[in-house]
């Protein structure tokens, strides 16, 4: 993907829809990933199920939006590479953090690329929801700090 955020790219519906498709791809990955998270949380899979449901809802909403715009929505992959072995509840929580961070980055990208106010409204809500979930998962994973000043933005 070309760097079209460096102050020289022109925003249009194409850049907005492309960013929405990236967010949709992140939602597909999150839905898949929460299956792994839930499987490792035998004692209490409820938080993973709730997070997965939230991503399913968002996935369906973005898919419908793209179809409405006659833009082909990306589909899910057959599987995804997990970044580390998930062998415990703490690992599962850490994976959930990775999932939510990926989703947050995608929605920040949508904010950067969108033309429509309604799209920004969707994006800022989705970004906030992802960070609220991430705070819970960072806590469960024993990560500190559990909050972050700039969700979705890289650390440099």
């Amino acid at each position: 993907m070309a760097d079209d955020t460096a102050g020289t790219g022109e925003l249009d519906t194409g850049t907005e829809n492309a960013a929405l498709n990236e967010a949709l791809a992140a939602s597909h990955a999150a839905v898949w990933g929460y299956g792994v998270v839930g499987a490792a949380l035998d004692a209490d899979p409820t938080p993973a199920a709730a997070s997965e449901e939230a991503h399913r809802d968002l996935r369906d909403r973005v898919t419908a939006l793209l179809v409405e715009r006659t833009t082909e929505p990306v589909g899910p992959k057959g599987g995804y590479a997990v970044p580390f072995p998930v062998l415990s509840a703490v690992d599962a929580a850490a994976l959930a953090v990775v999932l939510e961070n990926g989703v947050a980055a995608a929605w920040v990208r949508v904010l950067d690329q969108s033309m429509e106010r309604s799209t920004r409204e969707l994006a800022v809500a989705a970004l906030g929801d992802a960070e609220v979930r991430a705070v819970g998962w960072r806590t469960a994973a024993g990560q500190t700090p559990v909050t972050t000043a700039f969700p979705g933005l890289p650390a440099d």
């Binding site: 993907m1 070309a2 760097d3 079209d4 955020t5 460096a6 102050g7 022109e10 925003l11 249009d12 990236e22 791809a25 992140a26 990955a29 990933g33 057959g78 599987g79 995804y80 590479a81 970044p83 990775v98 999932l99 990926g102 947050a104 980055a105 995608a106 929605w107 920040v108 990208r109 904010l111 950067d112 690329q113 969108s114 033309m115 106010r117 920004r120 994006a123 800022v124 809500a125 970004l127 906030g128 992802a130 960070e131 609220v132 991430a134 705070v135 819970g136 500190t144 700090p145 559990v146 909050t147 972050t148 000043a149 700039f150 969700p151 979705g152 933005l153 890289p154 650390a155 440099d156």
Partner: protein, 160 residues
Amino acid sequence: MPPIPPSRPPGFSRRTLLVASAAGLALLSAACTSPGDEREQVTSEQADELAGQVAVQESLVAAFAAAGAADAGLAAAVAELAAQAGEQLDRLRAAAPGSSTVPTSSAAPPAGAGARTWLRAQVASTAASHAAACLEQSGARAALLGSIAAGLRGQDGRLT
């Protein structure tokens, strides 16, 4: 098998965001926007609103200090959150250079245990303000405000 999407999309960095944002406002002040370049076309309303969000964030930083003064235990408990609010303020100031601001809230927190509840309300209202302002911006400014709003929503849950 594809990896789970990274938290940093290719070609997208915070530095890029800030450079774009600062460049946009600098060009605005010079009345020298580039035709056809959407992200450099910052309206005066957008510039004013971003400067206004600096004031909103300054009020939140002041609220952390006031709440800490009212409840010493709370000051220690929220030190990390206060530091993050300060980082957000620095970033907003960098995105709105030359903004002259006045904190929008001068209310004092109640002493003791009520300070935490008061501080949480300040965090929540600041998050809502940045989220609303984000809708009226575009490009890097929208991304920055949206990210800060999300960060404060995360803080809100820590203050229950």
